[in-house]
Amino acid sequence: MNLHIRPIMSALLRNRTGAVLVALQVAIALAVLVNALYIVMQRMDKMGRPTGMDVGNIFVIQSAGFTARFNLKSSIQDDLAYLRGLPGVIAATPTNAIPLSGGGSSQGLVTVPGKHSTDTFGYYEVDEQGLDALGLHLVAGRNFRHDEIEPPITTNDASRFVHNVIMSRATAEQLFGKQNPLGKTVYDSIGQGATVIGIVDPAMNSWVDSDHADFVFYMPRVTSALYGGVRYMVRCRPGQRDVVLRLAEAHLATSNPDRVMHFVRPMTYFRDLSYLGDRSMGIYLLTVTGLMLAVTCLGIFALATFNVATRTKQIGTRRAVGARRSDVVRYFLVENGVITSAGILLGCVLALATGYYLSVQYALPRLDLYYLVGGVLLLWIIGQVAAWQPARRAAGVPPSVATRTV
């Protein structure tokens, strides 16, 4: 098949402004499309990471005693008895912090006492229902027993560590490499040791933006009220969360006059808040990129329409001297293909340059070339689709036009 590139090129070169403008649009659109999609995919991967937790069925209650009469121990006992007795509740645990929420505590762990820890691991104080209340999956070892749950730290022994810990697989691998972590001892910064009794996987700590969001371990300890009150995490049967949440809120708000409710919220609230920036970035990028493609598409369409309109006579002449309708359609599609390809070529350079700039300036990962290939194909198809209708219209020009004096 002869595409007749030469006459098309010479026609283009004689009247190049419009073509150059469209090629420029295609180039910018390609550079933006490829990089935007790449960023969006990274954010989606980040938001879609397995948390290991039953986030959708968990809610969190935070309250704080504010008078001298308030008894932390009996209050926690009463609250847990009430929460665990509610129909629809699978498990409930007191905790010091809410995973995925952006708030919490972390500390260093080492395998040799006195060694310097370069990593910090998010930790959660839970009781024997802790793993169940979070919906975590134990892949090795065992859960905490009731008699292993230690009393809360106080302002007299705030450095006290625990005797046992359960940790994420990522934590275990960071500390022990390929060795079996079960039964091994980990130490805090001042050399107090704890035995690893269980491994959960997957699991996440509070900080979704951290490089090591899976560095997390669990302590068998009743949480203290030292850091802004007591939090409970309550996991419900599917569909029961909102009903249970309202019951629990009503009860805890009135059951003890010496405390004040801070909030009762589904865990999804905290997760969504942590990912809000990623989500809105994704939506914004997709919207603007979509609009940009639409504008580019219209630009291609308009140029093709204009070209057809100004060449009615020539088309008629070609038809009169023997060109078929398909030849005319092909002419315009090839012309469009040449323009789009030029734009795409420039766009590839722009896309790579933008990707490089973003990776250097903003420490984003380097652009994945598959996206470039996909973007090139997409823009080429968009170009052909946009030019299709004007090309068809051109094919409809009757040969008799050529014989008329316009």
């Binding site: 419009g18 310097h116 609230y269």
Partner: protein, 444 residues
């Protein structure tokens, strides 16, 4: 003449309503996206106390781990907060005109009839209010004499006063703060510095705290920070005394220095103190004592994050595509109407006049586009605002507060409309003005 060109432009719009609509829409979309992004960017990058930029300084001293910096990703930055002992030393200096040390706690307000109220309370020193030009509705802050030993005095935000006292003047009233009696000495007027420059922990756009209490109550009542507490040194910290003596950082420190000379004196004060401590075995890292003004403080703490910069770039790339698109359409349109222009030229219109006539047409398109773009941006900002406010996501972070139009939005709309006119219109108008009229008179 301008009136006539305007008339011609309307006639021209009428000839190709589709293309005209397309051009207006392209300009509008480009401008709308730019305004939206820039509005948010501007709100984020603002300095809410710019008039004191050469007076207010955050004090930091790098007391961190000899083996690693405070922020792994920004090894050049010291911790933004200080240890208790170092903050106390700064607070004891007579060099600054004003100085504050502070942190935040969660506290409960009760004893005034209404249900107990959970608050974010700022534990700070008396200079806070004058230093940051905080407006008062009733009463005042507390005097320095109330700082040490701490007096049971409290300043409420306007919102807290509305909740507890129905907005009436509560100065002199007594309430219970964490179950201790405190007397209200002042109520703030509406005050919402954006960003929340004096404490960027927990979100740069959060509202100011609900209540303000003398700093020394914190250690006295052993109240832990609800902000960040960071420790690097292996030390046994069992009780409050251990904690206060530790290398843990948790206190924000600001000083007001009226001139360069005071600033230099303050810097040498810090350096001398550092040297003493260094000799005594503290401060294992290289000396890095800083007085950072607000603008640099906001930059160092990355209030405007990378996403926002990327979005501004994207917005301008989009505007470029829209304008290139418009140039193409205009060129096509003008050249298509060249025979008419040819007649005008032949009848005596100068090149300049033809150029001006077409430029007027482009200017009108741009004005229409800018107006529509402004409308679209308003809708877009409302949509984003809604997205943030939905599901009560709004209370923390306060990002939805950024989605408001301000005069800056209007300014940008006008500026961008002018830029759009010049960028999109100059070349097509020039091209059409340069065409020899004869060609178009020949065969018609």
């Amino acid at each position: 003449m301008l009136g006539y060109y305007t008339h011609l432009a309307f006639r021209s719009f009428g000839r190709n309503p589709g293309i005209t609509a397309l051009m207006v829409l392209a300009i509008a979309l480009g401008i709308a996206v730019c305004i939206m992004t820039l509005t948010v960017f501007h709100a984020m990058s603002g300095n809410p106390i710019w008039w004191k930029n050469d007076r207010l300084y955050a004090v930091t001293m790098d007391n961190w781990d000899p083996n690693q910096s405070f922020r792994k990703k920004h090894p050049d930055l010291p911790p933004p907060i200080m240890t208790y002992k170092d903050a106390r030393v700064v607070a004891s200096s007579d060099i600054p005109e004003r100085k504050i040390i502070m942190y935040t706690v969660e506290a409960t307000l009760s004893g005034v009839g209404a249900a107990p109220l959970r608050t974010d309370t700022r534990m700070t020193t008396g200079d806070f209010f004058a230093m940051f030009d905080v407006p008062f509705l009733y009463g005042t802050g507390w005097s320095k004499s109330a700082d040490n030993p701490p007096q049971p005095v409290i300043v409420l935000s306007r919102k807290t006063n509305d909740t507890l006292f129905g907005g009436t003047n509560s100065v002199g009233r007594v309430l219970r703060w964490n179950d201790h009696e405190f007397r209200v000495v002042g109520v703030l007027d509406d005050w919402f510095p954006r960003p929340h420059f004096y404490d960027l922990i927990g979100g740069a756009f959060q509202p100011p705290e609900d209540a303000y209490v003398p700093f020394a109550w914190g250690p006295a009542l052993e109240l832990q920070s609800s902000g960040d507490t960071d420790c690097w040194k292996p030390e046994t910290i069992n009780n409050e005394a251990d904690f206060l003596a530790s290398e843990c950082v948790w206190i924000q420190t600001w000083v007001e220095l009226p001139d360069r000379a005071t600033r230099q004196r303050m810097q040498s004060f810090l350096d001398n103190y550092w040297a003493d401590q260094h000799r005594a075995g503290r401060f294992p890292r290289p000396r890095d004592n800083r007085l950072t003004n607000v603008a640099k403080w906001l930059r160092d703490n990355q209030v405007v994050d990378n996403d926002n910069r990327v979005l501004v770039g994207l917005a301008f790339a989009f505007l470029a595509v829209c304008l290139i698109n418009t140039v193409g359409l205009l060129l096509a349109k003008f050249l298509n109407a060249a025979p008419v222009t040819g007649v005008r030229r032949a009848l005596g219109a100068s090149r300049r006049q033809v150029f001006l006539q077409h430029l007027v047409e482009v200017a009108m398109l741009s004005v229409l586009g800018a107006a529509l773009g402004f409308g679209l941006a308003t809708l877009g900002l409302a949509a984003v605002h809604h997205m943030y406010a939905a599901a009560h996501l709004g209370h923390r972070g306060g990002y939805q507060e950024l989605m408001h139009f301000d005069t800056v939005g209007v300014f940008w709309a006008i500026a961008l409309a002018i830029v759009a006119t010049l960028a999109a219109g100059l070349y097509p108008a020039w091209r059409v003005g340069r065409m020899p009229p004869a060609v178009y008179l020949k065969s018609q």
